[in-house]
Each structure stands twice: as structure tokens, then as C-alpha cells.
């Protein structure tokens, strides 16, 4: 396999990272050059017994000189911080229309799931020139989703969701690696990201085995696990109705206001007594250990689909 000497820049973010990287490289190269040259020249010129002029130190090489270069270094580093931080901040929030892919990291494999339910192991097909948002969680230890060509890396911590987004600019197959040590086969936990043209991606998606999409799986679970017993519209139990809940801000019993997003739904399922909705008794049992992360993602997708139905209903 021929060695690689340069890394492709396959996302919009990659170019910005490389600009900063090369900027720093040039700056460090110059500084290294100056230090090495100085040490070399001074060492040779002022070697013991050489004829170079000694005598008293010139006046300028003194305290002001030292304060001068200290301040210069300080301002240079402050500029570098601003330059790097601005690049980081501008790429934080994922655009709204991003394609949402659920990733579950498990000891030594990556499981990815597309919105329509198509599942893949150690591979991810995505369309080019379209923002993609990954919602990732881990089922055991800390892993790290690392795609060198995209300049993207994010630790996947069990018990909470990690989010990253990127927009591929080049088609092709790029290696996916696990960057956080996770045990025996940490080095085998590798995969491929296949960036395809929009049309190829669309028909690839249709050719996938007809795993129903997340919302349908969620609907079945909603009944199978007994959520509908309390939360269905028809039920007489005094429990919060979920239609149109997703995205709304919820008033809690202890006065706090929380937006009903993925995290809120996830925590309400696993630790119901954590954020109790105002006006309701904390009677909901905890599902921790009964629902795995894939099922929670399906239930969340179902609850989100309830929101869109009411909008369709009333517009």
C-alpha cells in the first residue's frame, strides 16, 4: 500500500483548519530557524579563544530588550488564540437542514443509522456538499469518532450524546478511526466514510433493506413498552401529552424552564424524577437499563414526528 504524504481536505472545515495549521507551521519554522541560527552563529563566533570582540555588553541588550520581546511574544500568542478561536466558534452550530445520522459506538465497532432507518456497521454513506449532523453515543467506554480527511474528531462518552457536523466537499472513501483508547481491539475499530453524489446517495438509500425508519420503530416501541398507557391522547392517566412537545419549552415543577430537545427526552426516559413537568406527579418509572440507546433514539424520533403531525394537522 503506497504511503501517503499529504491528507486530502474533504470538508469545508478542513480548509480552515489547514490554513491555521500551515500558518502555525510557517511561524514555528521561522522561530526554529532563528533560534538554531542564533545558537549556531553565536557558538561558532564566540567559541573559546576566538578572535571575536568581547568587551562590555552593548547597552541595548538589556532589560528593555527583554521586556520588548516578551511583549512581542505575548501579542503574537494572543493573535494566534483569536485566529484559532474564531475558526472554532464559526463552525460550532450545525445548520438546521443538516442530515441527521445516529451513531452508536460499541466496543470495537461503529453502528450508524440513517433517518429512514437504514443501518450500517463500520461504514457511513453520505451525500457530498450537504451538511451532515452526527448524534453519537457510546454503549460501553469512551470512543472517539475520528475522520482525518474531514479534520473532525469527537469523543463519544457513554451516558451522554455528542454532536458534530461537517459538510463534505469531495466524493470518495475516507478512513474512519477510533482515536480514544477503548480496550483490546481499539486499533481494529476502523471504518469507511463513503461520500457520494446526491443522486447516487438517494438511490443507494432506496436500495437499502426496508428497515422502517426510526419514527415507525419508535411508534411500535411507544406501545410495546407501555408509554402509550399514560402518554397517549386517549389515556385517562394525568400525564403530559407528547403531541407537539418536541422543540417547545417546558415549565418544570421547580420553576426552571427547559427546551424539550433530544437530551431532555432522553433524561426524562432514563431519570424521570430529574426534570418533573409543572403540575404533574413524579409517578413515571425509570427505564434505565430497560431501553438501549438505539431504542431511545427511535422513541425520540417518534416523539419528534408527533410534533410535525400536529403542525401538518393545523396548517
Amino acid at each position: 500500500m503506497n504511503p501517503i504524504f499529504s491528507l486530502p481536505e474533504a470538508t469545508t472545515h478542513a480548509e480552515r483548519v489547514d490554513h491555521i495549521f500551515y500558518g502555525l507551521l510557517v511561524l514555528s519554522g521561522l522561530t526554529m530557524l532563528v533560534v538554531f541560527a542564533l545558537v549556531l552563529v553565536l557558538a561558532i563566533r564566540y567559541r573559546r579563544g576566538s578572535g571575536a570582540k568581547r568587551g562590555p555588553l552593548p547597552e541595548i541588550v538589556s532589560r528593555e530588550f527583554e521586556i520588548g520581546w516578551t511583549m512581542a511574544t505575548l501579542f503574537l500568542f494572543a493573535f494566534l488564540f483569536w485566529w484559532a478561536a474564531s475558526a472554532d466558534l464559526s463552525s460550532l452550530a450545525a445548520p438546521a437542514n443538516a442530515l441527521e445520522i445516529h451513531v452508536v459506538a460499541k466496543q470495537w465497532m461503529w453502528k450508524t443509522q440513517h433517518p429512514n432507518g437504514a443501518r450500517e456497521i463500520d461504514a457511513l454513506h453520505i451525500p457530498v456538499d450537504k451538511p451532515v449532523r452526527l448524534v453519537m453515543t457510546s454503549q460501553d467506554v469512551i470512543h472517539s469518532f475520528f475522520v482525518p480527511a474531514f479534520r473532525v474528531k469527537q469523543d463519544v462518552v457513554p451516558g451522554r450524546e455528542a454532536e458534530i457536523w461537517f459538510q463534505a466537499t469531495k466524493t470518495g472513501v475516507f478512513p474512519l478511526l477510533c482515536a480514544e483508547y477503548c480496550g483490546t481491539d481499539h486499533s481494529m475499530m476502523r471504518g469507511r466514510i463513503i461520500v457520494m453524489r446526491q443522486e447516487d446517495y438517494a438511490d443507494w438509500l432506496t436500495k437499502q433493506p426496508e428497515g422502517d425508519d426510526l419514527a415507525h420503530v419508535g411508534a411500535k416501541l411507544f406501545v410495546a413498552r407501555g408509554c402509550s398507557g399514560c402518554h397517549a391522547d386517549a389515556s385517562r392517566v394525568h400525564a403530559p401529552k407528547l403531541a407537539g412537545l418536541y422543540g417547545r419549552s417546558v415549565q418544570l415543577s421547580d420553576g426552571r424552564q427547559v427546551k424539550a430537545d433530544d437530551g431532555y427526552i432522553r433524561d426524562s426516559i432514563l431519570q424521570p424524577k430529574r426534570d418533573i413537568a409543572a403540575g404533574y406527579e413524579p409517578i413515571m418509572p425509570s427505564y434505565a437499563g430497560l431501553l438501549d440507546d438505539g431504542e431511545i433514539q427511535s422513541l425520540t424520533a417518534y416523539i419528534r414526528s408527533l410534533a410535525s403531525q400536529t403542525e401538518k394537522a393545523n396548517d
Binding site: 427547559v258 427546551k259 430537545d261 437530551g263 431532555y264
Partner: protein, 103 residues
């Protein structure tokens, strides 16, 4: 001989009075902590418990451990631990709280 032990007895009595007073203040603060714990004041209740704990700790450090009249070097050593502990708390909570807020 007796001048010696009357003198030392007055010293002992002065010590008992001084430390006894501090002890009484500590006991009072303890009961105060207990009482405040049962008053529902939202976030203020745990905060009150901790603030009173700081006051009690201050009393013990400054008076029992006699940091108040110790050499500046000793005071520096005492402060060093607390300062870097504050740094640990501040920066870790900066992450934890902003992670919770940002959910």
C-alpha cells in the same frame, strides 16, 4: 514556689477562657447550620450550610491554629492550598455548568 504555680494557673485560666469562647461560638454556629437546613429557601438552604461551614473553619484556622498571629510565611503557605483549590473549582465548574446550560 507558689508564685510559680499561681502564675501558671492564671495562664491556664486565661487559655481556658479564650478557647472556651471560641468553642461556644462554634457550637452556636453548628446549631445554626442545623436549623437553617430545615428552612425551605430553595438554593439558599445548601448555600447557608456551606457559608456557615466557612465561618466555622475560619474560626478554627485563625484562632485555634493561631494563623492570625503566625509569621507571613505561614499565612502564605496556608493560602496557597486554598487559592489553587479555588482554581480547580472555578475552571471545572466553568465546564460543568456551561455543559449543563448548553445541554
Amino acid at each position: 514556689m507558689n508564685t510559680h504555680n499561681t502564675h501558671s494557673r492564671t495562664i491556664a485560666w486565661k487559655l481556658w477562657r479564650r478557647n472556651g469562647l471560641i468553642w461556644a461560638a462554634l457550637m452556636l454556629l453548628l446549631t445554626l447550620t442545623l436549623v437553617f437546613a430545615y428552612v425551605p429557601m430553595g438554593l439558599v438552604t445548601p448555600a447557608a450550610g456551606i457559608v456557615i461551614a466557612f465561618v466555622k473553619a475560619g474560626l478554627v484556622i485563625l484562632l485555634f491554629m493561631e494563623l492570625a498571629k503566625a509569621r507571613p510565611l505561614i499565612r502564605l503557605a496556608a493560602m496557597a492550598g486554598v487559592v489553587f483549590l479555588a482554581v480547580l473549582f472555578a475552571l471545572t465548574l466553568a465546564d460543568v455548568l456551561s455543559r449543563l446550560a448548553g445541554r
